[in-house]
Every structure is written in structure tokens, then in C-alpha cells.
């Protein structure tokens, strides 16, 4: 263990030297910051400036570097010193570019810069460069749950990339839903005819792959562990169990079709009304010849009812669109037309959804004589030998009916995502869902569901980021989708599984703090077993042991620091981010007295959105109050209330929290950080009352990264408010 040796570097480039008294800042770093080495440079990010720092690291045994220059988001290429702890005082975007350049502001500007230097030095002394945690295990095998197209694709992709794979399939054979199809919709040029499914080849490829082991008639009875060291108990239908050690999991548990018995208004209980899956059975039986319905009669007329029990506004059926059904009905109409061209086939739809090159497939059906009618179907009833479909023809704006031999209801996909861990158990559907993964996790047995039962990511940019690290949903369990998309989806999920293994082996974080080597360190001797960390972790990374102490699973952790923010006894920290590293910054500033008329406002800003917005405000020279001191935080969820109470006790006049949007359309990259911060701050209100402070002394705002103009406005408005309510009475005691 080497000794800590600190060095501070003050850059005078980009106008810093003109706007600020740099030698005075150096003095602050030296005398107050107690930096062992302090240097100034006119262009610190240049080769020459960087060499200066590097030489100190090499020759002066510097282990800790404080750079007072631009924002921590800028010049990351230049200021990159592996294994060296680094703090950055943001003098450029945060002071010189944010505060008016005139002489009237010279003093406020200098004070702000000096405080940032103090804060940088204070932080630096409380952090170390993360060494990374030694992985407990680095198992490279992958478990795939589900042996349909999604599961087999994921298995083959991972196996081809050199990973051993175990596929667990609950039924007696591989192939899943695709094995029940007669043909599939085309996925490449030409988009004209139904295509062979290719499922037999896919099954054969998986079955013969030297790296793939298949467990049929099996379920996952228990999953414990973490990426790199999952231990999975597999139970066979026969009762036998085995334990497989794997590094990551792809959950491709597929879907079931919506039960047409729930659609009596569409004739779901009539004999000649079937769903698309049932039609595939008839088509397979016909083997390219005329299609016969259940009673053996050749079908001469068929109607496809789109959106059956889907896109439902009444709350009785599926509210979403399953995406594939328009193409599936078109394909199935072609089964009839291709076998017997004079069969009447009509598709009754409200919006025909054939994205991309699917449009060509639609055109092909029109050429084959399939009829399309924009209609709202009001009922299907049996008649002599067939069915009558009643509908409102939306083009003719008239009621109409058609008699057909067979009606096919295009019903939707119901995801097999297991247990909804966020719903109370008794509130769940009539049929009790069976857990897919049986996770031995503190926060529940399956992946959290996003909406309508799908185990999807909430993030538009990051479709695979489920809230359980190392477990990736793929295929229709993630989102309604067709075969082609399921193949792509499973391929991507295989990559994510491999990535989780690589990350776990290297002891580094997964998205969004990819590559972060820090991880939560807990002083268990101080723990009161309050369980807040285990409950609040957005990623379910923390379990509890028999004595109800938290058990941190580093490779499940995303390093947001929500546990650190939650901990009332402050025993959780990261090597480079801790209650102390921020607390020391809060305590380090030069607090003016109450007569100075210089309020001090602490801004705790989410580093993902609010802090970049402030940076961009600086870039566009939007000015804001020089009374604020901004501390970037990993997530608002990492804000420990002690920071706020310390600030208030220390004489800060106001505390402003800037985080991301919460609620249904949350934008917090750590899911619920901002929500929890707001919840915690409501408790701070009591503290404020006890201290005799106005409730406005602590405020929270939801901001977006684009609020480049709004954030300075919010800051100025708050600064004005603080001036109005006057200095904190706590200043006298600080």
C-alpha cells in the first residue's frame, strides 16, 4: 500500500487566467487544500501540460491529482491517469463561463473558484483510485431459458462465440411456437411468399452443437448468485434435479396466445372460429393442399379478424398491439389463395401494420386477390355450416356482414414473464403465474415487468437494460414481436450475456457506469440491519443473510450509490465516492458570515443530466448566480440526507437537488433514484422544522439534459428566493 501523495494543477487557459487570480487559487490549494505539489500551467491539456502531471506521478510518487481546469466531462482523453485518484475543480464551464466577466463580479468569481479548489482538494483526500474487486468466480457458461426460436438463436450465437450453453426447455421438444407453424413470413428479399420456417435446421444446429447442452421437460427451480457465479437448480418433470453453474442468463420464455374463449363476442366459443395458431395446425395438415376445417370440410371462404382481443380500450382484453398479426394473417390468407386461388379470403382490419419491406408482402397478397376491408367487427355468430361476421365497413361507412366457412381471430401474444414481483400476490390473474427463474433474490423471483407483463427495459436507447444484471430477456417475453425480430433480439441478448460475464470477470460495472471499477464497500460492524439498502437497490443487487445483514453482490451492482444514499448509519461507500468524499466538500468551503450578504447554495446535481446541462450552459455563456457551488452526484438516489443536514448545520443558506424525471416515464438511469431522493427529502422537512429553518432551504427539481436555459433560470430564481428569506440562522453556529 503506497502512501497518499497529492498534487494540484491549476490551468490558466481558456480565459481562466484572465478572469481569475490563479496564483491565489494555487495558494488555496497549498495552504487550505494541503496539496503536496501545486503547479500552474497555461495549457494543461496540451501534451506539455499532461507531461507535467505524468512526470509528477512517475517521479514524485504522486498518487492523487486535483485538476483545476475545465469540467470533468471535458478533455477526458488528456486527463487520463490510470490507477491515479483524480478530482476536478470545474473553473471553466463552472465559473469563468458561468459568471459574468465584468469587474463587478470579480470577487464573487474568485470566491467561487477558490471554493471549487477547496472542494476538489477535500474530495481528493477522501478518495482512492478504485482497485476493482476480485471476482468470486468467472464462470463463462450461459443458461438459456426456453427452447424456441429466441432461445435457440441465443444459444447458438453464444456457443459460436465460444461459450458453453445450457438450454432449459419445459416441453418435451425444442422449437417452441415456430415449430407449430406451417410457413413463416419472409424476412428478406423477395417479400412475396410465405417461407419455410427453418426451425428443423435450427433445432438440429443446436442439438448437434458441441457447446450446447439441452435439458427438455425441465424448469428452473432456483437461481442464486450473480453474474459470473450463478448457481441454477434445474428440475426435470421426472423429479430429478441438477445444479448448473453459469455466468449469465438469457430468458427466452416466450409467450402464450390470448385465449379466444375470452372473446365470445367474436365467436371465440364457436366451432368454426379459430385463432391463428389453430390455423397453422390446419395448414400443416393440408400440407400445401386445400385447407380443411375441424369438421373436414374444405374451406372456400375465410375471414381474418384483426386485433381480436388486442388494442382494447375497455380494459377487458390486451391493450397493446402484438405487431406480427397483420403479417401473419396475410401469410395465412396466402395459404388459402396459393392452394385454391378462388377461395374468398378477406382481412378485416382497422390499421394494417406492415412496417418496412412488409409493405411488399402486403402488395403480394393484394396481387393474389386477398381482400382487405377497413372495418370494425361487431360480432361473429354461427350460421348454417359456417359463421356470419358483422362489421361496420369504415370506408363505406355502413353496416355489413359476410358469411364465411371459417373465421380466424388474430389474437395477441401474452408474455410468459413469470411472477409480477411488483404486484401483491393475491391481486394477480386468475391463473397463478409460475415463476420462470425462481430467483433467490431479496426483491423477488422474476425479472421486474415493465408494462402489460413484458419484461422489457424502460430505456429507449438501451433496450436490454433489465433491472437484474446478467439476466437478459429476449423475444416475445420482452416485447411483442415476430420471428425475424425475435432472432435479432436473441442475438443481441446473447451479446449482453457474454458482456455480463466479461464484466463480472474483470470486476467492473455494467451499463450505465460501464467499466467502473468501484463497488460498494460496507462496514458491517456498524450496520443496524434496517434493510433500507436491500429494499431500495433499484437492481436487486443486495440480499440478506440469516442474521438480516446485507449481502452485496458486486457483479449485480450498477454502482449508482442508492444504497449509500439510503443508509442511515452511513456504512456504505465506494473508494472514489462516499459520504465522506462529498461531505468533506460541503465542509470545505469558506463560509461567509451572515452580514456578508453572500449566500451559499449547495447544488447536488445528477451527473448524467443536470451536470451536463450546466456544462452546456457554460458553453453557451448562460450566466447564473455565483453563490452556488455544484457537486455532481452519481444519481440523486445516492444523496444521503446527512449531506443536506451537514450543509444546513454548516451555514449553507440553501440546498438544491437537481435530478431526472420520475414517475411512469422516468428518465433516471438508475430507475428510481430521483424518486427516492424526493422521498428522502420529504423527511428532511422535519429536520428543517427542528432547526427552525424555512422549508424553502431545501428544494428539488426535475431537470432534463436539454434544460440548458432552464437550469440557470432555476438557479437564479432560487438564489433570489434565498436572498429574500435571508441568511441562514445556522451561520452563527457554523
Amino acid at each position: 500500500v503506497s502512501e497518499t501523495r497529492t498534487a494540484a494543477y491549476v490551468c490558466t487557459g481558456c480565459g481562466i487566467g484572465e478572469a481569475l487570480d490563479a496564483p491565489a487559487l494555487s495558494k488555496v490549494a497549498q495552504r487550505e487544500g494541503k496539496m503536496a505539489i501545486v503547479r500552474e500551467h497555461a495549457f494543461l491539456c496540451s501534451d506539455d501540460g499532461v507531461r507535467l502531471i505524468r512526470d509528477d506521478i512517475a517521479n514524485e510518487a504522486v498518487t492523487h491529482v486535483m485538476i483545476a481546469a475545465c469540467s470533468r466531462r471535458a478533455k477526458t482523453d488528456a486527463f487520463d491517469f490510470p490507477a491515479t485518484a483524480m478530482a476536478r475543480a470545474n473553473l471553466r464551464e463552472g465559473v469563468v463561463w458561468a459568471v459574468a466577466a465584468d469587474d463587478a463580479h470579480a470577487e464573487a468569481r474568485q470566491e467561487m473558484a477558490a471554493d471549487y479548489v477547496r472542494m476538489g482538494c477535500a474530495e481528493l483526500k477522501k478518495i482512492k483510485a478504485p482497485a476493482g474487486n476480485a471476482p468470486a468466480a468467472a464462470n463463462r457458461r450461459i443458461l438459456v431459458v426456453g427452447g424456441g426460436v429466441s432461445g435457440l438463436t441465443a444459444a447458438i450465437e453464444a456457443a459460436d462465440a465460444g461459450h458453453d450453453v445450457v438450454v432449459v426447455e419445459k416441453s418435451a421438444s425444442l422449437g417452441g411456437f415456430a415449430a407449430r407453424l406451417w410457413r413463416r413470413t419472409p424476412a428478406r428479399e423477395p417479400y412475396a411468399e410465405p417461407q419455410p420456417t427453418g426451425i428443423d435446421e435450427l433445432i438440429a444446429q443446436a442439438a448437434s452443437h458441441p457447446r450446447i447442452a439441452v435439458r427438455l421437460e425441465s424448469r428452473v427451480a432456483e437461481t442464486r448468485g450473480a453474474p459470473g457465479r450463478f448457481s441454477v437448480t434445474i428440475a426435470q418433470e421426472s423429479g430429478a434435479t441438477s445444479v448448473e453453474d453459469v455466468g449469465a442468463i438469457v430468458q427466452a420464455s416466450g409467450f402464450t396466445t390470448y385465449d379466444i374463449a375470452k372473446l365470445p363476442e367474436l365467436g371465440g366459443t364457436c366451432p368454426h372460429v379459430i385463432d391463428q395458431a389453430e390455423l397453422e395446425v390446419l395448414a400443416r395438415a393440408a400440407n400445401g393442399g386445400p385447407i380443411r376445417r375441424g369438421d373436414g370440410r374444405v374451406v372456400k371462404s375465410v375471414a381474418f379478424v384483426q386485433c381480436a382481443g388486442q388494442r382494447d380500450d375497455t380494459g377487458r382484453h390486451l391493450p397493446y398491439c402484438s405487431g406480427h398479426c397483420c403479417a401473419t394473417s396475410i401469410k395465412q390468407a396466402m395459404y388459402f389463395k396459393d392452394a385454391v386461388p378462388d377461395v374468398d379470403a378477406v382481412v378485416l382490419y382497422s390499421d394494417l401494420r406492415m412496417p418496412g419491406m412488409g409493405e411488399d408482402f402486403y402488395r403480394s397478397a393484394q396481387r393474389k386477390g386477398v381482400a382487405f376491408t377497413k372495418a370494425r367487427v361487431s360480432g361473429v355468430e354461427p350460421n348454417d355450416g359456417g359463421c356470419t361476421v358483422r362489421f361496420r365497413d369504415l370506408i363505406l361507412d355502413a353496416d355489413a356482414a359476410v358469411d364465411v366457412d371459417l373465421v380466424v381471430l388474430a389474437t395477441g401474444q401474452v408474455p410468459s414473464a413469470g411472477v409480477d414481483i411488483d404486484a401483491p400476490e393475491d391481486a394477480q390473474a386468475d391463473v397463478k403465474p409460475v415463476s420462470i427463474l425462481n430467483l433467490a433474490y431479496r426483491q423477488g423471483r422474476d425479472l421486474p415487468q415493465l408494462a402489460h407483463g413484458f419484461a422489457d427495459s424502460h430505456f429507449i436507447c438501451f433496450p436490454y437494460e433489465t433491472r437484474r444484471t446478467g439476466i437478459y430477456a429476449a423475444g416475445p417475453v420482452r416485447r411483442p414481436m415476430d420471428l425475424a425480430q425475435a432472432v435479432d433480439d436473441a442475438t443481441g441478448a446473447a451479446l449482453k450475456a457474454i458482456q455480463a460475464i466479461e464484466n463480472a470477470a474483470a470486476g467492473r460495472a455494467a451499463h450505465p457506469r460501464s467499466g467502473d471499477l468501484s463497488y460498494p464497500i460496507v462496514r458491517l460492524e456498524g450496520c443496524t440491519q434496517c434493510k433500507r439498502c436491500t429494499v431500495e437497490c433499484p437492481f436487486g443487487a443486495i440480499d440478506e443473510d440469516d442474521k438480516r445483514f446485507p449481502v452485496f453482490n458486486a457483479s449485480r451492482c450498477r454502482r449508482c450509490g442508492t444504497c449509500m444514499g439510503a443508509c442511515p448509519v452511513r456504512v456504505i461507500s465506494f473508494e472514489n465516492y462516499s459520504v465522506d468524499s462529498v461531505g468533506a466538500q460541503i465542509k470545505s468551503i469558506d463560509m461567509p458570515d451572515e452580514l456578508s450578504q453572500k449566500p451559499r447554495i449547495l447544488v447536488l446535481a445528477c451527473e448524467n443530466d443536470a451536470y451536463p446541462a450546466l456544462d452546456m450552459a457554460g458553453h453557451t455563456r448562460r450566466r447564473y448566480s455565483p453563490f452556488v457551488r455544484v457537486v455532481p452526484v452519481r444519481c440523486l438516489g445516492s444523496v444521503n440526507t446527512i449531506w443536506v443536514t451537514d450543509a444546513l448545520n454548516g451555514g449553507w443558506d440553501g440546498v438544491m437537488l437537481l435530478g431526472c424525471r420520475k414517475g411512469d416515464d422516468y428518465q433516471c438511469h438508475f430507475v428510481k433514484g430521483s424518486e427516492m431522493a424526493i422521498d428522502r427529502m420529504s423527511k428532511v422537512a422535519d429536520t428543517l422544522k427542528q432547526l427552525g429553518l424555512e422549508p424553502e432551504r431545501v428544494i428539488t427539481h426535475e431537470v432534463a439534459i436539454t434544460d440548458v436555459a432552464r437550469v440557470p433560470e432555476l438557479i437564479d430564481a432560487y438564489a433570489a428566493k434565498i436572498v429574500e428569506i435571508g441568511p441562514s440562522p445556522m451561520k452563527a453556529f457554523a
Partner: protein
């Protein structure tokens, strides 16, 4: 020297180099150029003790052909590059414009969450900054691909940026020049100085000089204003070669040229704009500061027509459905709601559509918009648009096919929901299979893959998913290649 041995040397120098964020590795165009391999200098350099990378820049690591070339630095390309790199692969990410971010950086909000693209871009940029395996080459085009699966040689051409890595983004050059150019990042709706930072989230965060001022006193003014020696007016285009095992084509999309849809009057009527332009109008960083103003008279637009399938689903234009336009228009109706105009006409929208393709969970968003009384839906392919010259208003003519009613509807702004077409596939290798609309299906030998909107008209979420899949396929190729190749000497 045997072929195998030579290859090992080559690869060695390459992978050592590919650690883009290695400490103190200068990242200028110029420097980067030298540091890959130039034709002529290459191959023998490392072996023969020729120009070696500076000592501090090299960390020799896995020395086999673990490099993936990703072409295109939009959301799909960045995703493919990062996802592969976070699995341990070396990646060269090539982008033709001076910044990463692609078209998504030019969007105001994403459907259905109405969140901001720059939010995800910030995360991706941070992933990039902390990952030494991705080497970024902006202002760079792929000129040629030679070789085969597992062993391609890509010839790249770097256009001069005229600004090197010493740039601090202080902005003095932009303040010094007076020449202005149409702002490519606002689709030419406004202008910016000829020395510019592409946009607020540009990466690399470094200015660019527009080639139009090179050789003029304007360029000299910019150079004189720079205190950091960052402006290099002698930069020339240069060619580089990289050896890679697999290639991901994430070359993206471009909006269909609306002027080709003659009856809609784009280019003739100022208040007919495209959906991508409307996106810029709504963006606080856009030409109107986020206010939805008519181009003709800068009055707030309050009665907007959204014309769906402008170019798409039309065998005279784009035969495919562009998938995203319905959702984009549904989203854009909500910009009008947010614009805060008052009065009876505040923020009214009419969507003229053939089918509303709000696929899968997006149905929830469609339902929400449908319930908005300020949004009207007309099932109709608009036949023609006329302008009322006195007011600048537009009259839309067509037939409402629900009930076959002819209409002539007045709107103060028309937004054409233009289709997506592949950005530019003229230079793609012949080995790549394309579909009828020119989207990349992949190479026959499975060493090159399409990703994102280069492979199909996709929204951002699906583009990221598609790119992750492409990264998997590319990763398999490099791992296969690595396994087949003996470890190179260290």
C-alpha cells in the same frame, strides 16, 4: 518473412494502437492517421523498427485480430461499437461527419416517453470516454473494403478538420470569423459561423473549420484567434488502411427528398416543412429556440397538418413503409400541446394517414394522443396541397376515405412525415446484399452486417437492439479469427 509472421506483426501494431483512450495518446486527425497504418508505411514499420508509436501510447494487449470496423457514428454505430468493446473487442468507429451522434442527436424528443435523445447520448459518450478499446475516427469515409470474412482491409479517407487535438472548445475561432454557412445540424434552417462546434453534445468536443473558408482571410482570422495552436490550415485529406475481422455497417438513413413529391409543394410553399425540420423547430437548440414558428412569417403555428406516408408506401417513391413516421407525427402533435399557445386554436393537429402504425406497446401512446381533443385523424392520402398566397396558409385537398368525403382543409403549417431511406449505399461493397429499397441485409459470407436504420427503417429502440445483434455477429467473427490464429509475440 513468412506471411503468418508478417500478419502477426501487423496486427500487433494495430491492436496496440487501437487503444484509443490510452493515456496521452493524442487523438487528432493527423496523429490518429499516422497511428493506424498508412499505405506504404505500413506492415514493415513496427517490425523494422520504423516509426513506432510513442512509448507512452502503447499498451500491448491481446494481439490477435480482435478488431471490428463499425461504419457510422449514430446511435446504432455507437451502440454496436460500445457493446462489442464492452465484451473485449477492439473497435474502430468511423463517422463521416465531424461528430458522433448521428440523426438522433438532431431529434428533440423520443416517443413514447417524450425524453431527450441527448440523455442517452451522454451515457454513450461516457461509456466511450471510459473505454480504451474504441478508436473513433470522425470526418472519415470508407473508400474501399478488400479481403474476406475474418481478414478485411478497409481503406479510409479522413477529410481535414483543420482543427487538431489541441482544441479546447473555447470558441474563440467562432467569434473571430464572420463567414457563415448553412447549419447542417439544423437542416440548413439557420446558419452558423464557418468555424463551429457541430452541436452542444458534439464528440469529439472540438471545433471544425468549414472547407469553404480555407484559403481565405477568414481562415487566417480563425487561426489568429486560436491561442492553443489548434488550427492547422495545412491539413490534407489522408488515406488510411485498417485490418479488421468484421464490419458493421451502421450508415443510417436520410429523409426522403420531399421536393420529389411534387403535389405537396415542398420547396415552393414555405410553410410546408418536413418532419425532421419540424423536429428542429421544436428543439430548444434549434433555429427558433424551440418555438414552433411558420417559416413564412414567424407566426406561431397553431393548426398543423401532418401528412403521413410522404414518400413511403408509394411505388413512385419509397416502396417500403418507414415504420417510424406514424409515431413521430403522434409525438409531434404533443409538441404543439406543449408550445403553450393560447386561444381556441391552440395547438390543433390533424393527421392525414393511411394506417396508423403504432406497433406493439406504442399503442398506449396512440391511445393517449387519440384521446387528445386537439388532435384529429383523417384517413386519407392527401392528393395535393395548394397555398393561399395572401396568408401563407395551405389548403389540403383529398378524400376522406372513411365515408368518401372530399375535403379542402386549411392549415397554417404542413408537416410532411417524410420516409426513411438508406443514407448512402453507393459505396457499399458488392458483397453486401441489399433489399429492394437498398437496406443492408448483410454479406453473403457473414463477415459484414447491417445495423440500425441502415438495415431497415427502425426507431431508436429497435436500432439499438439491431446494433447489439450486429455486435454479437461481429464478435463471433473476431473470436473465431482469434482462436484460429496463434498468439502473436509480445
Amino acid at each position: 518473412m513468412g506471411d503468418k509472421q508478417r500478419r502477426a506483426t501487423m496486427v500487433n501494431s494495430r491492436t496496440g494502437e487501437a487503444r484509443v483512450h490510452e493515456a496521452r495518446r493524442p487523438s487528432s486527425a493527423h496523429e490518429e492517421g499516422h497511428r493506424i497504418r498508412k499505405p506504404r508505411l505500413r506492415r514493415n514499420a513496427a517490425r523494422a523498427g520504423g516509426p513506432r508509436p510513442r512509448e507512452h501510447s502503447v499498451t500491448r494487449s491481446i494481439a490477435t485480430a480482435q478488431t471490428i470496423l463499425v461504419v457510422g457514428g449514430g446511435v446504432a454505430g455507437m451502440t454496436a461499437a460500445l457493446e462489442a468493446a464492452e465484451c473485449g473487442a477492439q473497435v474502430v468507429l468511423v463517422e463521416k461527419s465531424p461528430t458522433l451522434g448521428g440523426r438522433t442527436a438532431l431529434l428533440n424528443r423520443y416517443f413514447p416517453k417524450m425524453c431527450h435523445p441527448t440523455c442517452g447520448l451522454e451515457i454513450n459518450l461516457r461509456r466511450l470516454k471510459s473505454n480504451r478499446r474504441v478508436r473513433v475516427l470522425t470526418s472519415t469515409l470508407v473508400v474501399q473494403i478488400a479481403g474476406a470474412r475474418g481478414d478485411y482491409t478497409a481503406t479510409l479517407e479522413r477529410k481535414p478538420r483543420y482543427v487538431n487535438e489541441r482544441c479546447t472548445a473555447c470558441g474563440e475561432c467562432a467569434r473571430a470569423v464572420s463567414a457563415r454557412i448553412p447549419n447542417p445540424f439544423n437542416y440548413g434552417l439557420d446558419t452558423l459561423p464557418a468555424a463551429y462546434l457541430p452541436h452542444a453534445m458534439a464528440y469529439p468536443q472540438r471545433y471544425v473549420l468549414d472547407p469553404s473558408i480555407i484559403g481565405t482571410p477568414e481562415a487566417d482570422k480563425a487561426k489568429a484567434a486560436c491561442r492553443y495552436g489548434a488550427i492547422d490550415l495545412d491539413m490534407r485529406a489522408e488515406r488510411l488502411e485498417v485490418g479488421v475481422a468484421a464490419i458493421v455497417w451502421a450508415t443510417g438513413w436520410k429523409p426522403y427528398d420531399a421536393a420529389k413529391i411534387q403535389p405537396y409543394g415542398y420547396g415552393r410553399f414555405r410553410n410546408v416543412v418536413t418532419s425532421v425540420e419540424f423536429e428542429r423547430l421544436a428543439d430548444p437548440h434549434g433555429p427558433t429556440g424551440g418555438r414552433l414558428l411558420r417559416p413564412s412569417d414567424a407566426k406561431p403555428a397553431t393548426n398543423v397538418a401532418f401528412v403521413q406516408c410522404a414518400g413511403s408506401r408509394d411505388e413512385n417513391h419509397l416502396r417500403h413503409c418507414s415504420r417510424i413516421c406514424c409515431m413521430a407525427s403522434l409525438k409531434q402533435t404533443q409538441y404543439l400541446r406543449d408550445a403553450g399557445a393560447s386561444g381556441e386554436d391552440a395547438g390543433r393537429s390533424t393527421i392525414y394517414y393511411i394506417d396508423i402504425r403504432a406497433i406493439d406497446r406504442f399503442e398506449d401512446f396512440y391511445r393517449k394522443v387519440r384521446q387528445d381533443p386537439a388532435v384529429r385523424f383523417v384517413k386519407s392520402k392527401v392528393a395535393r396541397i395548394a397555398q393561399d398566397d395572401a396568408t401563407g396558409d395551405l389548403i389540403l385537398h383529398g378524400v376522406d376515405t372513411e365515408g368518401y368525403r372530399r375535403y379542402a382543409e386549411r392549415h397554417d403549417l404542413v408537416v410532411l412525415a417524410v420516409g426513411m431511406q438508406p443514407e448512402d449505399n453507393a459505396g457499399l461493397p458488392a458483397d453486401l446484399a441489399l433489399d429492394a429499397s437498398g437496406f443492408v441485409e448483410g454479406s453473403r459470407e457473414r463477415g459484414q452486417f447491417g445495423a440500425g436504420a441502415a438495415s431497415s427503417p427502425l426507431d431508436v429502440n429497435r436500432a439499438a437492439q439491431s446494433a447489439t445483434a450486429a455486435a454479437m455477429r461481429a464478435l463471433s467473427v473476431v473470436r473465431e479469427r482469434a482462436a484460429a490464429e496463434p498468439a502473436s509475440p509480445t
